[in-house]
């Protein structure tokens, strides 16, 4: 999925590291299976690859809104921005992801105007 993007192995390592640290910081009652952890980590890496070309705030807003299913008001509070800004970030990030998706799946060629 990485045509046109940088595959930054360092970044992948960083995400994996942060994920493991997060898990380690949890009070150790419910530990998800290794397979489940791997699935979540892989999904996170994919999401990061899709979003890493966006400004940091937009990427964070999108992840909170879509992954954690937080409403705009909640995300706004977390990030210290307006709910309107959150809506804009989410739309911007989603459009970016859509364009990536469109690029790597077979589509009918359509002319884009100047």
């Amino acid at each position: 999925m990485a045509n046109g993007l940088c595959i930054d192995l360092w970044r992948r390592r960083q995400i994996e590291q942060a994920w493991l640290e997060e898990l380690a910081a949890q009070p150790g009652t419910l530990i998800p299976s290794a397979e489940h952890q791997a699935i979540v980590l892989e999904a996170l890496q994919e999401i990061d690859t899709m979003l890493r070309c966006l400004p940091v705030k937009a990427a964070n807003a999108f992840v909170m809104a879509v992954v954690c299913e937080m409403i705009d008001r909640e995300v706004a509070q977390e990030l210290g921005v307006s709910a309107r800004m959150v809506r804009k970030y989410v739309a911007q990030a989603m459009l970016h992801c859509m364009r990536l998706e469109a690029r790597y799946t077979a589509t009918e060629p359509l002319q884009e105007g100047f």
């Binding site: 192995l9 970044r11 898990l23 979540v40 966006l54 992954v67 409403i71 884009e112």
Partner: protein, 342 residues
């Protein structure tokens, strides 16, 4: 075996811009927590309105599906936190600079032909709105959905207003794909002059005392800073200009555009991991001997051209890339006992 050059294919055209943008906006509204029943009805009407809208919404659903495994996890909050932690980590760029700087003089980078302009002033670059470090390449989408790819050690400032869209290229090289905007002209400034986009896709590079521009789609109009000389550069042409003069157009070099597609950057990463990534683009078997699996790799490689990447790796590491059959490739230690012919 000739390496196939996949880096010169034209970009996949997008679906009609409007439908995609609208779909993204609908998505943002519907999940905001503020959508009303009337909103949902309007969304349904939009969706049924045209095949393009339906197609655009299909992509929204594809993306949403990708989040399912993580949404349904009790650990999703942790995942989001981990993501934010990484995004807030300082110092990563400096690490990249340290490990790649040593390699700048080698032929490892010749296929990308980076040429560095003397930085106009470190402060200008460090405070620029968007910048990349040595060895880093980024793709950025601006607020009007214009896409800008920043090559390594490059920087630009964004100056978007109600009546204009303007970028100031401060250092290095950028590739721009402008988004349509009927009301705001798109302009890029450099110390040598100004460039107005009359169309979509072009690169600009800041040289010692000149700016270089190559156009791939559409056209741009160049105006030199001091003399106001203008020229229109159409797609397929490139030129360079100083503040006083403008060179005649010549054929554009497609390789200048190639660096935006599929670059793998490694800083002290085990060879086995690099091979793992190359496998995603390699048809057939790509094996690696355990003796060389942990050799550290540094540098940038064409990810979507594994044959070329392997050739580059072979030239700088003590490995041999063996092809018993065209599609059966194995990486082994280079045989040290073979006597070199005098």
């Amino acid at each position: 075996m000739a390496a196939t050059d996949t880096s010169l294919q034209p970009p996949q055209p997008d679906l009609p811009h409007q439908a995609m943008e609208q779909a993204a906006e609908w998505f943002a509204l519907l999940r905001s927590g503020e959508a009303t029943a009337a909103d949902r009805e309007q969304w349904q009407a939009w969706l049924n309105g045209s095949a393009e809208n339906e197609q655009a919404w299909h992509y929204v659903e594809c993306i949403s599906k990708r989040f399912k495994p993580i949404q349904s996890s009790p650990k999703r909050r942790n995942a989001a936190n981990a993501f934010r932690t990484v995004n807030s980590r300082p110092g990563r760029r400096r690490q990249i600079v340290l490990s790649i700087a040593a390699l700048m003089g080698t032929s490892l980078f010749s296929w990308v032909t980076w040429r560095h302009s003397p930085l106009p002033g470190i402060a200008m670059v460090w405070t620029a709105d968007y910048r990349t470090a040595t060895g880093e390449i980024r793709e950025i989408m601006l607020s009007d959905n214009t896409r800008v790819w920043l090559n390594a050690a490059s920087a630009f400032n964004e100056d978007y207003r109600n009546n204009q869209r303007r970028l100031h290229l401060v250092a290095g090289e950028i590739l721009i794909q402008t988004a349509t905007d009927a009301f705001r002209p798109f302009v890029v400034d450099t110390p040598q002059g100004q460039l107005r986009a009359l169309g979509t896709r072009f690169t600009m590079r800041l040289g010692q005392a000149e700016t270089f521009v190559a156009v791939y789609e559409g056209a741009v109009e160049v105006r030199t800073a001091a003399t106001g000389t203008t020229a229109v550069i159409p797609a397929g042409q490139q030129t360079r200009f100083t503040s006083t003069s403008l060179a005649a157009g010549e054929t554009a070099d497609p390789a200048r555009e190639a660096w935006t597609r599929g670059i793998l950057i490694a800083q002290n990463i085990p060879l086995a991991e690099v091979v793992q990534e190359l496998r995603r683009y390699h048809n057939g078997h790509l094996g690696i001997a355990s003796e060389v699996a942990n050799l550290p790799v540094f540098g940038s490689y064409p990810a979507n051209d594994p044959d070329r990447a392997l050739a580059m790796l072979e030239s700088v590491m003590p490995i041999r890339v063996r092809r018993t059959l065209p599609w059966w490739v194995s990486i082994e230690p280079r045989d040290q006992t073979t006597p070199s012919t005098p």
